[in-house]
């Protein structure tokens, strides 16, 4: 897991969001524009500059009770305005494992 401190040095190359895991159950969550967390990527606040990304991350990290391990992640925005994960790791975090689970939930 890339630490938020290291990420502060990173310049973003495209649209990005802040994601983390929810403290009480570890579920994947995304920071919203309303300074809250959502389990839906579609609710995530999009940032397009490094300054905005750093600010969103700082605000997210400050919520130590609600979430852990917050970091900036790239996203892609398709022609219809839908937010899609920007890499395989984030795709897996959003959609789950790429394999069949031994027991179907």
């Amino acid at each position: 897991m890339t630490s938020p401190l290291e990420q502060k040095k990173i310049r973003i190359a495209g649209p990005s969001i802040v994601t983390a895991n929810r403290t009480w159950d570890g579920a994947v969550i995304y920071r919203t524009a309303g300074r809250a967390w959502s389990p839906e990527l579609s609710d995530a606040a999009i940032v397009r500059t490094s300054g905005d990304a750093r600010a969103l991350l700082a605000e997210s990290v400050a919520d130590d009770l609600g979430a852990i391990g917050a970091y900036i992640a790239p996203v892609e925005i398709d022609d219809g305005g839908r937010i899609e994960p920007g890499n395989l790791r984030e795709q897996i975090r959003r959609s789950g494992v790429t394999i069949g689970l031994p027991v179907q939930v």
């Binding site: 009480w24 570890g26 579920a27 994947v28 890499n87 494992v97 790429t98 939930v105």
Partner: protein
């Protein structure tokens, strides 16, 4: 089985209460994540991609049927109905909620299971041969010494904040099933020229970013001196091990940088000051631990009972028997390996239903005992040979009779990018595809013993360096690539594999492995020359040519 006493039970229960309080304080905001992280890690709780992951220790790989049922209960009640057996005789649950963890720990504590020191910079679960106590030719049961080490290292105040994690493995057989040469300290029980039992002590083995095979630091340490000698090693490591750089903090780096002779001299000096002190093990103490291990009341049984003779007519049974049944120290009995590598399945996973059913099977046929091996398979250690046909049917019914133990589809794989926050690439889908490619049992038998190990990152939880074929996932420009090594092995002749060439893409891995296996079949000197021996004889070049000539 080992019978825990009141001290063990109190310690485990107190730990649960302590962690319950820590979780409560974390969820109320009294503890920050920075403050809580080390506490959760020391109780086996990681944060992974989708959720918390909970790692539970199975000391020296020995489980009772009651304990296995409780693991099934935890999988069902607190997780998603399955667990993942790891390469260090642990089981991991992938979807645990932090808020429910204290309850899960309390349920496990009732049957003497815990998660202490399954993570963090301390001594980890002490591992051993999964056939301990039943393997023919064994010097003695290595679990006695594993248990002594477990008690000594658990919550040891001096070694709870080491520079980095620290792993022990012990074997007492000529053939090393515990991979002792890739551990921080590896211990091999043997007899010296005077006929006394003691340990060859190896130090500085390990995989990860900088892999090393362990080096012998002392050829013979008497059992009574085991703890003092081990403590001398750990004191030298604790004093000189690097805390400034996580990548250089393991003891293997210290041993490498000092050189084994200088490191050994430092340890010797430390040891001479303390060897006759409080850590000297009295025979009484060892005997007390030994007496807490119970062994079945074996019957006098024939080696070739009628039931077995009749069942041999069934080729499916014979395929399983010749693959998964191994000699036992007692005539009329066998050790049965249980593959957790079904065709197309995730290596090492077992469902709660399978665990429950296996616990019942163990009660019926194996004196209620199950073993866990570092190859991510299970074993039943005490099977009467007359029961083999009935056992096979029972295992087959629950999907646990895949006859591929030690064959090409018996793949070790870490959870990889599907679960792990450290991974760069997926491991499980690669393993699944390979098991499909090599699903034909006759082909797999023709190939013979061949270990494929897969890791999704350089941390090497899938032990790729010591796979006969090792596969390491890396990431290049956002895409998954895989480096292939060949010629590694984790047994008594442990070696690190050699890279055969540039990394290949995700979709090409299975083809490349098939090419390597085909090259081996063409190159081997005789049908019984193992893959790893062919590589040793010829080097990697013929395999490299085969793989890259057309790519």
């Amino acid at each position: 089985m080992y019978a825990y006493d009141e001290i063990d039970r109190t310690l485990v229960n107190e730990r649960v209460a302590e962690f319950r309080d820590q979780v409560k304080r974390r969820l109320s905001g009294e503890l920050t994540e920075d403050e809580f992280k080390m506490l959760r890690l020391q109780n086996g709780v990681y944060l992974q991609l989708h959720a918390y992951m909970f790692r539970v220790a199975i000391p020296y790989g020995t489980l009772s049927s009651k304990q296995l049922r409780r693991l099934a209960h935890v999988a069902r009640r607190y997780d998603r109905g399955y667990g993942h057996f790891t390469t260090r005789q642990n089981i991991q649950f992938n979807w645990i909620k932090l808020a429910e963890l204290p309850d899960a720990l309390a349920d496990l504590a009732e049957v003497g299971i815990h998660a202490m020191q399954t993570s963090g910079n301390n001594t980890r679960n002490v591992t051993s041969d999964q056939w301990a106590g039943v393997a023919p030719g064994e010097i003695e049961d290595p679990r006695i010494w594993s248990e002594i080490l477990r008690q000594y290292t658990t919550l040891h105040p001096e070694f709870s904040f080491l520079p980095r994690k620290f792993k022990f493995a012990i074997t007492a057989s000529a053939h090393d099933r515990a991979a002792i040469k890739i551990h921080d300290i590896g211990l091999r029980l043997h007899k010296n020229e005077a006929g006394e039992t003691g340990f060859e002590v190896l130090v500085g083995g390990g995989l990860g970013r900088t892999p090393f095979i362990g080096k012998t630091i002392k050829p013979f340490v008497h059992g009574r001196d085991l703890l003092s000698y081990v403590e001398a090693i750990m004191r030298v490591y604790n004093q000189y091990g690097r805390r400034d750089n996580i990548y250089k903090a393991r003891i293997k780096i210290l041993v490498h940088e000092l050189g084994i002779e200088k490191f050994a001299a430092e340890v010797e000096e430390e040891w001479q000051q303390m060897r006759d002190g409080a850590l000297k093990l009295d025979d009484e103490v060892v005997e007390d631990i030994r007496s807490r291990f119970s062994y079945p009341a074996y019957e006098k049984l024939p080696h070739m009972p009628d039931e077995l003779r009749k069942a041999a007519q069934d080729p499916k049974f014979e395929a399983w028997r010749t693959n998964s049944v191994f000699p036992h120290k007692v005539r009329g009995y066998a050790i049965v390996a249980i593959s957790l590598k079904p065709v197309g399945g995730p290596p090492g996973d077992a469902t709660a239903d399978q665990m429950d059913a296996l616990a019942d099977i163990a009660d019926k046929y194996s004196f209620g005992e199950i073993r866990v091996g570092h190859e991510q398979n299970l074993a039943l250690p005490h099977i009467a040979r007359r029961d083999l046909p009935a056992l096979w049917k029972a295992l087959d019914k629950i999907g646990l009779a895949t006859p591929n133990v030690n064959l090409v589809s018996d793949i070790i794989a870490c959870p990889g990018l599907d679960y792990c926050s450290l991974a760069n690439a997926r491991s499980i889908p690669i393993a699944q595809e390979l098991t499909r490619r090599f699903a034909n049992h006759d082909t797999a038998n023709l190939i013979g013993r061949l270990h494929i190990n897969i890791s999704g990152c350089i941390n090497a939880c899938g032990h790729h360096h010591v796979g006969h074929i090792g596969i390491l996932g890396v990431e290049k420009n956002g895409e998954e690539f895989y480096q292939i090594t060949i010629g590694g092995r984790a047994d008594e002749q442990a070696e690190l594999g050699v890279l055969i060439g540039p990394a290949v893409k995700y979709g090409e891995v299975a083809d490349v492995i098939e090419d390597i296996v085909e090259a081996y079949l063409a190159l081997r000197a005789r049908p019984d020359e193992l893959f790893v021996d062919t590589v040793k004889r010829l080097g990697v070049e013929p395999f490299r040519e085969r793989v890259y000539a057309t790519r």
